[in-house]
């Protein structure tokens, strides 16, 4: 039983990261109807920036905040420069654009910081949390930061004017434009926020997976799986999906024989495909009805 509780808690901790990634993916999907295949690489790049800041002697939390700000601006810049011109382009072109961005970021991170694996500090320490052996303080910290972030986002979207405008621009762009919302900038804002959320995910998972240019590959696939499970049209679903996927991953790794660390990606693949086949809209997504 203790093993079970332990695995569930560990699953919730990694699930928190998947929830962040899924949320970032869903935010961009909501805004422009495309999946950002470069989301993981953007998060990785942000994490490298924070690492560099710390190397220059800036304390962790200051580096954290500066990275958030830089990622926010960077996300907006990417949208304005690269993806705004593609807004009306077909799906294929957009997929190609995201793939190109993926390649550019991955390879330039390698060029700047090279491909060796780096240690990344955790501000929470790794001693047992509250004296219990179940989870470490870092895992507790991951859950804590994610929950704070989610609450913040919830209040932002529910109770601020900009949050309302962003929701309006995402769900009915034409009407939103008619009532005077600058939908184009709402999309850019969505990108900025998604990039910042991604960078939080990156900085929290880096102490666990270590810092290197390919560190987010697996995390992104799980983020996608979480987003698909919760429904690509529902930010709330993405978060729930993230936690579910994290727990599922850990339990499958513990209890299904033959599934070790090496099979984690195929599990994500199986999950994505089975959700898409059985319930394409996900658990909480809107079912999209198309007019013929």
């Amino acid at each position: 039983m203790e093993l079970f509780t332990n695995q569930v808690l560990a699953g919730i901790a990694t699930g928190a990261i998947y929830a962040c990634m899924a949320l970032a993916v869903v935010m961009i999907y909501q805004a422009i109807d495309h999946l950002n295949f470069a989301q993981g690489e953007m998060a990785m790049f942000s994490t490298f920036i924070s690492w560099q800041l710390m190397q220059w002697g800036i304390p962790y939390w200051a580096a954290f905040v500066i990275t958030l700000a830089l990622s926010f601006v960077g996300g907006i810049a990417i949208e304005r420069i690269l993806f705004k011109p593609l807004a009306k382009a077909p799906v294929l072109t957009n997929v190609a654009g995201f793939i190109a961005l993926f390649a550019i970021i991955n390879s330039s991170a390698g060029l700047i910081w090279d491909f060796t694996i780096k240690q990344y500090p955790t501000p929470f320490g790794s001693s047992p949390f509250l004296g219990s052996q179940l989870i470490s303080t870092h895992q507790a910290g991951m859950i804590g930061v994610t929950v704070l972030l989610l609450l913040g986002l919830y209040f932002f979207f529910q109770y601020t004017k900009i949050g309302l405008a962003m929701r309006a621009a995402a769900s009915v762009p034409e009407s939103a434009r008619l009532v005077g919302i600058n939908t184009s900038w709402m999309i850019a804002l969505g990108w900025g926020m998604a990039t910042a959320i991604g960078s939080i995910a990156g900085m929290l998972i880096a102490p666990v997976v270590f810092l290197e240019p390919n560190m987010m590959g697996g995390v992104l696939i799980y983020g996608f799986a979480a987003a698909v499970l919760g429904g690509l049209t529902s930010p709330f679903g993405a978060v729930v999906g993230g936690f579910l996927v994290g727990v599922f991953e850990n339990l499958a790794g513990t209890y299904i024989p033959g599934v070790g660390n090496e099979l984690k990606l195929p599990i994500a693949l199986a999950l994505i495909i089975s959700v898409l086949v059985v319930k394409p809209a996900g658990l909480f997504g809107r079912h999209i009805v198309k007019r013929v």
Binding site: F37, I99, L276
Partner: protein, 339 residues
């Protein structure tokens, strides 16, 4: 509305705009290219022959993706998975069962056809980004699947398998590289002709009808589910054959040779060559083989960045890839002839 659709629409206009004589220009160019491909190995070193072989092999893999995306309008970021299955089929058959290399190609084709057809079943319910997502996950998961413990006896696990390079048959006075080049050239030509005819056939028209408007196609009696999975199967089979040729040429298969990077390269090759334009496949393949080589020459790790930047340039400047340039060239020649 897919890119392929636009390409074809534009292509038709361009074809109509060009006088009939100019169309023979295309045939002429293909013959010149073919002649060059046949004669070239006589004059160059073995290493360049090897690179040309890889060019043909990647060309074949890009062609396969082109049939899927350009033909039936479905995406795949997971071609590396089919390529890997083909490569492993050949390697396992050659090394564990001593099967002749030439005989492993059809087997790889059949195995990959089945794999692609089965993967096409769930993919049926997906379109656009969802399909891209599912195939992306497939490509990411493939290296781990190949490393599975219980398959290790056959696949060699992380170490992979070494494949012996075949000698030229009938005592032909040829180096192994040169023989393999001609062998690949023959296979590629045969598949190319098959593909051109496939797209012109009833099945090919069904693919395109689905690509252009799925609902209209099904209303006209096209079995959408069958043809969509069929396109997946054919594409996977051709990719698998490319994979087995690749395994023989490189003489080595290992899980980490078939990562998402390969799938991205093939996708890139298709976009550069022009979606839905089969001759563009070889142009795209040349791009994905030679550009990284040059970039790595300048700095290690640069190839991804160069790839990305060039891909953006292609998207913005020549969204229809090499096809657009070919059409421009054709019109230019047509105009010169008129004057």
């Amino acid at each position: 509305m897919s890119a392929a659709e636009e390409v074809v629409a534009e292509g038709h206009q361009a074809v109509e705009a060009v006088p009939k004589r100019a169309m023979t220009l295309g045939t002429g160019t293909s013959l010149v290219v073919l002649a060059a491909l046949i004669i070239m190995p006589v004059f160059v070193k073995n290493f360049i022959i090897f690179q040309m072989t890889m060019l043909l092999i990647y060309g074949l893999a890009v062609l396969a993706l082109n049939i899927l995306t350009g033909g039936s309008g479905q995406f795949s970021l997971g071609q590396s998975a089919f390529y890997a299955v083909g490569a492993y089929t050949t390697a396992v058959l050659m090394e564990h069962f001593n099967v002749n290399y030439a005989l492993t190609l059809p087997v790889a084709g059949v195995v990959c056809f089945a794999f692609g057809f089965l993967f096409g079943q769930p993919a049926l319910r997906l379109s656009g980004v969802y399909l891209a997502l599912a195939t992306f996950a497939l490509a990411t998961a493939m290296p781990q699947l190949l490393k599975l413990n219980f398959l290790e006896h056959w696949t060699g696990g992380v170490q992979g398998l070494v494949v012996t390079k075949p000698d030229a048959p009938f005592g032909l006075p040829m180096s192994q590289d040169m023989w393999l080049y001609y062998f690949s050239l023959a296979v590629v030509l045969a598949i190319y002709i098959f593909s051109v005819n496939l797209l012109r056939s009833r099945s090919g028209r069904a693919f395109m009808a689905i690509r252009d408007n799925e609902i209209a196609a099904s209303a006209m009696g096209v079995d959408v589910a069958l043809y969509k999975t069929l396109a997946f199967g054919v594409s996977a089979a051709i990719t698998g054959i490319a994979g087995s040729l690749g395994a023989i040429a490189v003489q080595f298969v290992a899980p980490d040779s078939y990562t998402i990077t390969l799938a991205i390269s093939l996708f890139l090759g298709m976009v550069v060559g022009g979606v839905g334009w089969l001759p563009g496949s070889i142009v795209g393949a040349a791009f994905i083989i030679f550009v990284p080589n040059m970039a790595e020459g300048i700095s290690k790790g640069l190839s991804g960045a160069v790839f990305g930047v060039l891909l953006f340039l292609v998207i913005y400047l020549v969204p229809h890839g090499a096809r657009q340039i070919a059409i421009l060239g054709q019109q230019l020649v047509g105009r010169l002839r008129k004057n």
